[in-house]
Symmetry: C2
Subunit: 357 residues, 2 copies
């Protein structure tokens, strides 16, 4: 493995000083890029793309060819683990993910088992190895998984939902059944992320996309408690370097203090959270990642840059900020807006840090 | 007008001591009740039902016949104001509200005018008068409107949206155009709520359903600033009694301090906010309303009651709590669960208050 030419992301995640704020974007390899659409068309489907190490490598690197981003993120899906459990992940065109065999009875819950990443998720690990080779040490590679609770949401509901009624009904009526699923998911996600680290990812992110739809009490018991176990079970260093972890709970802005004590190195903030307030609340315990509203990229260049500066001003020049959007980039984003964003992050944050000295 | 037999709600909203926590439910007159479904079938459509003062009165009173609720809420829609502006509200079966003529260009924005409630929203005021007569002073009647920002969301997007892309694009690219719409909406909502008060509603609620999808900075400028103006322009007393106002921002748990300083008498909390934490943050400036997860009503009776007690324990026995759900009741709710909820709120909160003395 070659040494990292640009380790700004890893240093910022460890709250070490950097010359500028590193930047990457959630879903940066995605549908807003015409070259992505072309590769996906060749693959035939999103899932065929995600399951081909060669094509996953190709799309993972596409945004890096366009923009001077400070990290690559593995092209994959948050739901690979339940797919490997045998639930049958598929995507209906124009809709979100679905499972052919959602957990509909107790027998299905009892039959759930932790998949072996080395065999049942080998395509992901092959992709990680191939991406690392292709990157040649330019920037670090981030691996990821859905959180135990977010996986359970789709596994039980069978698809996305505006109110997660089936999941919530189980939570309130049969909590012990949900805990059983979450326990299996926790062991599966931990093994999966450790296998990604072993294969070469240099940071990991846990996407708790739906934890924010829980009550405060339920968030602690059914989401954060299990994310904490995953974080506690992760391989901490590889090649003598810390492998930092990022916990992102969409809609979790009310629970930052608890998230900061979960064992993660960084918290991902969605765009509804004021960054200055977040920093005041979590102190220097963790790095912060975020949090531009993805919709700001629909504005003209001069306004994109103004919004970027507003976010950078809110975070300030202190160590421990990774610039990102507050949610995945929209497929309708003009690619030129991303160029403006990345340039403004690098230029303005460099000035901020100089002025702070 | 007859004197109020039960004014517990009004006293709790004014943070006066009450013998128990008053309770009502957002969307309490709704599809989970078979008698509502029957009336709606007779009306032919949701909108025909809402526009008929006689039928709106009938369904407003239905939940009060079943349960000893402490308030009635006007049966209507949050989008009556833009409908009266000529945008053409309609409901596609199984989907949310839509507008036939959303604001698609600057000419449409410039043509927007404040409707006269006395003529263009007369069916609402007639319903208020008829409901007050039918209630005969049993419990107070709550009026409501969508907030200026939430109205703008539907007016611009033309329907519900998972990311409000058109609205957000305007916000970032053409903020002055959005401010113009919000200014008209603010004057329209203020006049509309004052007309409801004049017609007889005894409390008002401002539903900011989508303000929580904004960044913290945008929430202040595009949502709260206008809600504040509405609240400041409301008739404060009628028949020598304060007409309290409730501000509800779904997903607004991070901004409670700012909401508490907006001029409202009470804040509605969604189920993601911890009530004890909310009370600590806003002090005794405002009453609090909420905040059981509507999904808890899918559980068996004994668990519904346990969740109700958990919410009441979090709020405590101090004056100024109105029990409610954290969001509208689901159409899939078993009606018996509501009976359990209401009984537990009354019984347990009475005990809490006795123990506190």
């Amino acid at each position: 493995m070659s040494a990292l030419a640009n380790d700004t992301l890893l240093r910022a995640l460890s709250r070490e000083p950097t010359q500028y704020a590193p930047v990457w974007l959630m879903r940066q390899a995605g549908r807003y890029l015409p070259e992505y659409a072309a590769t996906r068309a060749r693959a035939g489907s999103f899932l065929a793309l995600a399951k081909s190490p060669a094509l996953a490598t190709e799309v993972t690197l596409q945004p890096l060819e366009r923009y001077p981003l400070d990290a690559a993120i593995l092209f994959s899906d948050i739901l690979t683990v339940p797919d490997a459990m045998g639930l049958g992940l598929y995507f209906a065109e124009g809709e979100g993910p679905r499972f052919e065999r959602p957990l509909r009875d107790e027998a299905a819950v009892r039959a759930l088992a932790v998949p072996d990443p080395a065999t049942e998720l080998r395509y992901v690990l092959d992709a990680v190895r191939e991406i690392r080779r292709a990157l040649g040490g330019r920037v670090p590679l981030i691996g990821f998984s859905g959180s135990p609770y977010t996986l359970a949401c789709y596994m039980i509901e069978g698809s996305g939902s505006f109110d997660w009624r089936t999941v919530k009904a189980m939570l309130y009526a049969r909590p012990e059944l949900l805990h059983r699923i979450l326990d299996v998911n926790t062991r599966a996600v931990t093994a999966y992320l450790n296998a990604q680290i072993e294969a070469g990812v240099q940071a990991v992110m846990l996407f708790d996309t739906w934890g924010g739809a829980l009550s405060a009490a339920a968030y602690e018991s059914f989401s954060l408690a299990y994310s904490r176990k995953v974080l506690g079970g992760l391989t901490k260093t590889r090649d003598d370097r810390r492998v930092p972890s990022i916990l992102f709970t969409k809609g979790g802005g009310q629970w930052l203090e608890a998230m900061a004590a979960s064992g993660c190195d960084a918290i991902g903030l969605d765009w509804t959270t004021d960054a200055q307030d977040a920093r005041r609340r979590v102190g220097t315990r963790v790095a912060l990642q975020g949090n531009l509203d993805p919709a700001a990229l629909f504005a003209p260049a001069v306004k994109v840059r103004a919004e970027v500066r507003r976010v950078l001003d809110a975070f300030g020049a202190a160590p421990g900020h990774v610039f990102n959007l507050g949610h995945g980039i929209s497929r309708h984003t003009p690619p030129d807006s991303v160029a403006e964003l990345v340039d403004e992050v690098h230029t303005y944050s460099r000035t901020q840090r100089k002025l702070a000295h």
